[in-house]
Symmetry: C2
Subunit: 457 residues, 2 copies
Amino acid sequence: MNSLDYFFEPKSIAIIGASHSTGKIGHVILQNLISAGFKGEIFPINPKKGTIIGKQVFASIKEIKTEIDLAIIAIPGALVPKALKECGERKVKAAIIISAGFGEIGNIKLAQELQKVMDKYSFMKIVGPNCLGVMHMKNGVDSLFLPAYRLERPKHGEISFISQSGALGSAILDWASFKNYGINKFVSYGNAMQVDEADLLEYLGKDDSTKVIAVYLEGVRNGKKFFKILRKVTQKKPVIVIKGGITAGGAKATKSHTGSLAGSSEVFKAMLKQANAIHATTLEEVFDFARTFVREPQMKNNRIQIITNGGGYGVLSADALSMNGLQLAKMEEKTRKEILKGVPSYAIIDNPMDLTGDADNKRYEVALNNISIDKNVDAILLILLFQVPTLDSDIIETVQAIKEETGKPLFVISAGGNYSETHRMALEKSNINTFISPFDAAKCFKELFEYYKNRTK
Amino acid sequence: MNSLDYFFEPKSIAIIGASHSTGKIGHVILQNLISAGFKGEIFPINPKKGTIIGKQVFASIKEIKTEIDLAIIAIPGALVPKALKECGERKVKAAIIISAGFGEIGNIKLAQELQKVMDKYSFMKIVGPNCLGVMHMKNGVDSLFLPAYRLERPKHGEISFISQSGALGSAILDWASFKNYGINKFVSYGNAMQVDEADLLEYLGKDDSTKVIAVYLEGVRNGKKFFKILRKVTQKKPVIVIKGGITAGGAKATKSHTGSLAGSSEVFKAMLKQANAIHATTLEEVFDFARTFVREPQMKNNRIQIITNGGGYGVLSADALSMNGLQLAKMEEKTRKEILKGVPSYAIIDNPMDLTGDADNKRYEVALNNISIDKNVDAILLILLFQVPTLDSDIIETVQAIKEETGKPLFVISAGGNYSETHRMALEKSNINTFISPFDAAKCFKELFEYYKNRTK
């Protein structure tokens, strides 16, 4: 049986159902592959032949003489079994079936017919049907049939993301692009008649270019297989799972959406915990947790130092940490003495450390240099309120330098308008995790701490 | 005793400590008053005299012959009692003491000296010391000493906001401006030696231009007075309270920040509930709740209909509603029949209602027209995923028209990149409450429902 590699690193792709009409799915896919800069050979397939976007069209896959690594099938559901059979005969290594109209709408007969073809040519790896398929921008692979002006493709990164739902997956990719989060491999796997969430998880677990895995699912095909693989993968890298249908109302909805029969959500959550997977409730959490694991080092214990130039934000941050079971660090006496030497007497050198409203870059530098080497501090929550004129762009290099040296997780909180947002985004570009809300930051510290703690057990 | 009106609608303002040096607090305040377009008379006070930004400077408030409604005092703390005494002699009606250095740093002697002056001239209303003071952009009143390029001033609106913390207040105003939320009156009241949070709450409760009140506090000066007034005000309009120091770690921090001694947070939360105030945990919640109450009508019961073009978002939304104790509405049979006439057979007319990935404006129109008059539906959660090319700008007018007619709360969820965000913001400008996350929307529905339910009790 072939490897899943053929989905992400194919040397040639056939598009069965390539269309001459702009806007049609089979046209958009071809256009996207070309835009994505796919370097291998592309074979549009359509009985009408001719050319599409300058590419020669073949009437059937049987006409192509060279080897085909990947077929993308985008034709009416009823025609899919025959097309897949031809792929099998041509020894195509992998296929993505975009087409819908199978089990998800109760067409069991067509699904069974398709299953027979899959079984006969079992060396072929199949993703789908009823899916968006695969995106791996590094190699220019992009079977998503949505135009780039609607679904912006995110930059290449270290987070891989698999989604049972196509529309949700596409909204999230688009949003990730907007937020400038990097995505490595994306798979919308739909009905998962062959390759399922567990197979993809196993593959991504072994994939060195994937640092963090995120999963949206409504149900799993084979719970035992899934959790066995999940336990194994989380020993190597973090896996963040968001599950649709964790309430009675949501579970009823999954049934009409993907046909998934949700079991008890309490059991599911307990199993995630046992497997040391990270459970996210919202899509925002998925990406907050993911960028935390991509950028932050291991967190040895949960003692956190808050440094602020606004008392109220310090108080709310202390609340946020406490609410997430984290500790306020008690700095070493020598640290306190050193900092006191370099700041005015009205600064409060405690936790929160309030450098007060007129704090400038130099005052933050003194605080950070000393806290970053304090043995009682495991991580730093740095609040930068840019409403005061004493704090300016210099702070960005200061924070970046500390972050590179300290070896401790460090988050920045910054809330405000244009001036503030410009600086927050500059910090993000310098690879610093920033948050608007201390509560979001605290949740990330919690997950970071617990994942590594449980992994070493 | 004078009315608090003089803080928000003064006819004349004296700035005691107006400075000739750009960047100094006493200079920035004068500049901001001029930029804000304050229409009354402005009297800069400084012993050096001369002119500042073209305004004639007076050596002392005693030199001014006309009536003075409001004095803004921004001089070193030690000089404040004498200056305030002069204000009292001149029969100034209200004063904002920006200066710090009193009780908050343990200078009890100076605080007592100031208290004596306040008591002697008790007709004067005093905000502060140790605060940013007052902003009421409609009248061009702005005592905030932070330049507009750092702290952008939000547009005039219907939310009034009082904050014990100045830095937090200023970050939030700046952020509110960025988000395009309208603010009516803002007060950072600092040490609250005379006018306190309860007085301000009572005033805003009677202020017809304030539709919703938001409060950040770390402690209350007089709990009995505060809760008595709170109970009264919430019978007229919603009051959203966020309290710093609701955990042990946070409470310790409030002590060194504002000197507030936090009592049991559980008791505090129970008292908020009893007073039918809305408790927010994060600053995001404060403004999500506030704009909900500004824009949405009363919600009669908690049965909500989800309408979506992406199944996964429908599932997560059903989870979000259930997690917040809300019900999925069961539409009337006639509604279902009417909608079925106007949508393809593969659309799922249930709750969530999945109009599927190729839904266009017309399909949404059919769904919305029928759901908006359904007696079993109390509110609508509308999901618009703009990644698909079938959905475009037409939907904005459709939603706006429904919103104006229906009389039911309606939220829109939309997540994505530039195309999507452009449309989400267009909806916001059309006075539609939009959210990126269904979980945030669900929390707002919950607070909306519970506030009116408890008020009618």
